[in-house]
Subunit: 343 residues, 4 copies
């Protein structure tokens, strides 16, 4: 680890966790039916149903996060129905208007930590009173959020109660669900109790690619596969997704990967905190947003690759450090060495 920069740019910079790659190689010449109608997908779905404790859940394997969100919301909403979310929500900022291209308006609420609250939902709901305005129907949350923060169990149940009261659906974008579960008191079994639907992110947690959509609410289940196909999200070799999630949910690998990445991020956080750094948001997941002097940032970039987050003052910026299954264990020691040299 003496040569080259160490990558802390994101959690999708490398291929797949070795156990996943091994499974793909092992299955490579085995013929299976197309489009996800195969035994590998069925096995993976069964494992996910087991993990969340709900035999009746519908599980669909999808290609990526934006695709998962646009398919779900196109499937769940009538044309005049809208989505309540935070200003930072991935669907609101970073999906090139995919939701609007499906015909739906998002109603963003400003936040500092990326977390939606019942109060925000209620305020947006109260402003949409008649047919001259869109009708809020889904509350969208990301967990972990786009800022790396997470929902507590109490917060999730409070959102559920709020949505139930207002007849809204609660949908969770779980692109980084592993990181969230590994960093909070929320358990797999809490998810079906609170959510109408959610997806379990594979791409950012060790898979080559792929997300698992889980639908709990009976009214949202019919014809979901039509929407997958129509929006270009049905993989011909759907078994590839089955293999990957089967590995991730066999023996707890999914959370193991997340815990390891969170753990390394904790190490980095400790180093920065010891150095007196502030953070843009208080995170316990695999994403950190330390606020650092520009000179320090430049110096750290000689050894580590990472993205800017935002300009904070004339001499400081927040940067984003992300860890993953592929981040070397040794990174904390090396990071500490480099940080300790900063003046």
């Amino acid at each position: 680890m003496t040569h080259g920069v160490i990558h802390l740019e994101n959690d999708y910079s490398e291929g797949a966790h070795p156990a996943i790659l091994a499974r793909l190689a092992d299955e490579n010449l085995r013929a299976r039916s197309g489009y996800g109608a195969d035994d590998a997908c069925e096995s993976a779905a069964a494992r996910i149903r087991g993990a969340i404790g709900r035999d009746d859940a519908d599980v669909h394997f999808l290609i990526g996060g934006t695709s998962a969100n646009l398919i779900a919301l196109a499937a769940f909403l009538r044309p005049h129905e809208a989505i309540v979310c935070t200003e930072q929500a991935h669907i609101n900022v970073h999906e090139t208007g995919a939701i609007e291209a499906s015909g739906h308006k998002s109603l963003p609420f400003p936040t500092t930590d990326g977390k939606l609250t019942p109060s925000m939902i209620e305020q947006l709901y109260a402003k949409h009173v008649d047919e001259h305005m869109v009708k809020p129907r889904v509350a969208y949350i990301s967990n972990a959020t786009e800022l790396g923060t997470v929902y507590t169990r109490g917060e999730l149940y409070a959102l559920k109660d709020c949505c139930a009261k207002l007849n809204l659906l609660l949908y969770m974008d779980g692109a980084r669900l592993g990181a969230a579960l590994a960093a909070s008191d929320v358990d797999w079994s809490d998810l079906p109790r609170c959510l109408d639907a959610f997806y379990i992110g594979g791409t950012k947690n060790g898979a080559l690619f792929g997300e698992a959509m889980v639908i709990l609410n009976e009214s949202l289940k019919p014809d979901f596969r039509y929407l997958i196909k129509q929006r270009g999200g049905m993989l011909a070799k759907g078994f590839l997704l089955g293999y990957q999630f089967d590995v991730l949910f066999e023996g707890g690998l999914y959370l193991d990967i997340a815990r390891r990445a969170n753990g390394i991020a904790d190490g980095l956080r400790g180093v920065l905190a010891a150095k007196g750094a502030r953070f843009l948001a208080d995170t316990r997941t695999n994403m950190l947003f330390p606020i650092l002097p520009d000179a320090w940032i430049a110096k750290l970039r000689e050894r580590f690759a990472f993205h800017d987050a935002e300009r904070v003052s004339s001499t400081e910026s927040a940067v984003r450090l992300v860890t993953s299954w592929a981040t070397p264990e040794s990174v904390v020691t090396e990071f500490e060495r480099c940080v300790n040299q900063l003046r």
Copy 2:
């Protein structure tokens, strides 16, 4: 090869050509930028530009065929513009209305062989005369077609001339382009001369997944990546597509795979022809549609797995046999043995 059925169901029943899998394994721990902005994609794009002899082509790597078609047509068309195609066109029948979900009407023309002709284009064009009707703007062809037939060089140039005359774009769905090129007098270099855009199918020609969109017409190039992202087609780990097409276009593997699959299909065709079978369409690619007595079909199914195509008479059906990079060489001998036993 004495145990189990032999799969002739389709060309996407297995994983990836071994050379592709090896490359994925080799690159697995190498970190690269996301979303296709990496050197592997650039290398693969350069090889494709080289193959077609057009340095100025834009090349984008996409996830699947339906996704590729809907992204391209959403990018190329204004809302009132329509697509001229055959009745059998994949976009017209087998994409769950993906094109319509993007807002566009397809104008299908009945055919027996799945091939669009200048006369069909002209007839549809002539019927759409004013703003009460959609405006034809793209002619969509599949090559190979959904029936396994192919366009000759002369036919392609005739379509190009017709489209130029009527100010239509000519777009080719190349899900099985390898099979088509390997079975016709059309050359890579003919494609940019005739087409405004097309995609090169990877999924059905040895890749795990992936298609390469090639855009020649300058007016169609701007902001294409926005559409990829908006429609859920931008893979986070885009380099996975780069690896695969880099392998496919390094040293001619793409056509080698197609030639081999076509060759095996030729062998099967010869066996059937010798037995006196008729065919639904005259194909030289990796798809055969023999018309067989029901009893024969049942007998063959004891040894081979394949799909029904259509009912032809009270005692006969057409079935679909498909070969691929994964079809064992020995299949022809075994098929001949079985066919010769049919009475």
Copy 3:
């Protein structure tokens, strides 16, 4: 009536029936709430409910036919659901892809008389078997059809039974519903028994503009006004529509207008039949499609204005003659005089 041409071009060439214009003038300075939430709309809706004998029907007043169709189908369908119709259907040909722009595919069936049959519905339904294809959900009929033909009571009930069996909705475009009712054994009270929703055309039956959407099926009622507003179909001065339909459904004016127009068309038909003319379709409504020698057509055009329908042979064309509330009674006598001079 000795000067100028006599207009037989269509049934929307003039303003409004005098009774409607008088009502608009009478109400002009009376202030009412906007967007259709006024007592004139309520009165008109009550009269329509009375006419069809269904107190529970939802009635919405809309601006025009294409707008009515696109709003209804956007409201009734999920994104993957499709519309079964005839090849000549207004939505399939003459609405510039409005349905597709709302995201839905139409599945047209070829006909000679513009009428949809249970057999056509069943054939289209049988071809759409899984999630790779759109899912037929609405059967769309026009009555009178685009060719001026009408459905009998028996045919309507047969369509209803077919749709019920296949879980399809039956929707009727009634742009020329007056003409149809006046020319068939179908009664106002048959409509709610057969149809899930339909609209009553005002534009082509004496109104300045406007159509009345009637929704019977409970599941189609919620939030319909959101769709009206979202698709630009909610008139600020909605009471204008209320006034018009209130007049049309007060004392039977709606059918009186249609009977009169049909009657004049009958007169023209008789003249032509006596002269030995054939017709493109057998119609009893206010549209005729006589097939005439080109020389006769040219001669008739010196006195009458009308549209071409289609070329029938090298020396003959079908033309379209349309009558309306504004067609002078004297037209039949004058037409007979002119036709009798043709050689």
Copy 4:
């Protein structure tokens, strides 16, 4: 004027200005071609071209404001292109997501007076940097705004310069354009110099219904009528719109109506100002938003009908007073009498 309430609810509570109604009656039995291809529309378009001093402008007559906005933006934008606007923008709040239903995202900026500034445009533009986000392409302004405020000539030209610099189109929603022109230093001839397209509102300025879309930018002109038809905005009896705008632009009636309504509003404003009332926004158009004690509001409602705007404190609310061509001249005197009685 001693009986009944006086209506100050909005500017579309009655029918049409008497001159318009007279013209409709006069033309009622004259047959004209459908869909706006008639000499009345041509005459009205010519008058509008004359008013703005641009012979090359395309003019299209549309049915209503939401319809006009959604047609224009659907015609002008590619799928990934977005609209910069104020938080209060009609398209953002009061069109039930019509723009999103056409596939486009609006990017609202918070304001207190409803006016978009170059700085707002620049800030929104600067945040949308790559293909993961929508691409700002149109700046949408309403003039008068939703709060009754207006743009000065200087502000309009500054917006134009900003848009030109950033390659954005500048589009104006002129639902209340008459009120704006009558209340500002902006002249008809300024509009084509600043705007790529705009519509002239008829519905809220004396017409029964109708808006005139004016397109200046050559690149936005092609095929606009296809979009009108596709979105349900093409009136069969298009000549009705021609008659109305022909009257409005013959001898300056359009601005006369607006000046009269603004003048009455000025009278009401004076009465309130003399009483010491504050206003939500500083307006000189036909809409006032005085902030009044709840007791006063209740008292005024005995004599005048008007809408609430928003709650301002525990004892005060802002209400909305709107005048129109139909507001009686005597209203100011009566209003003064009532206001003077308030304690």
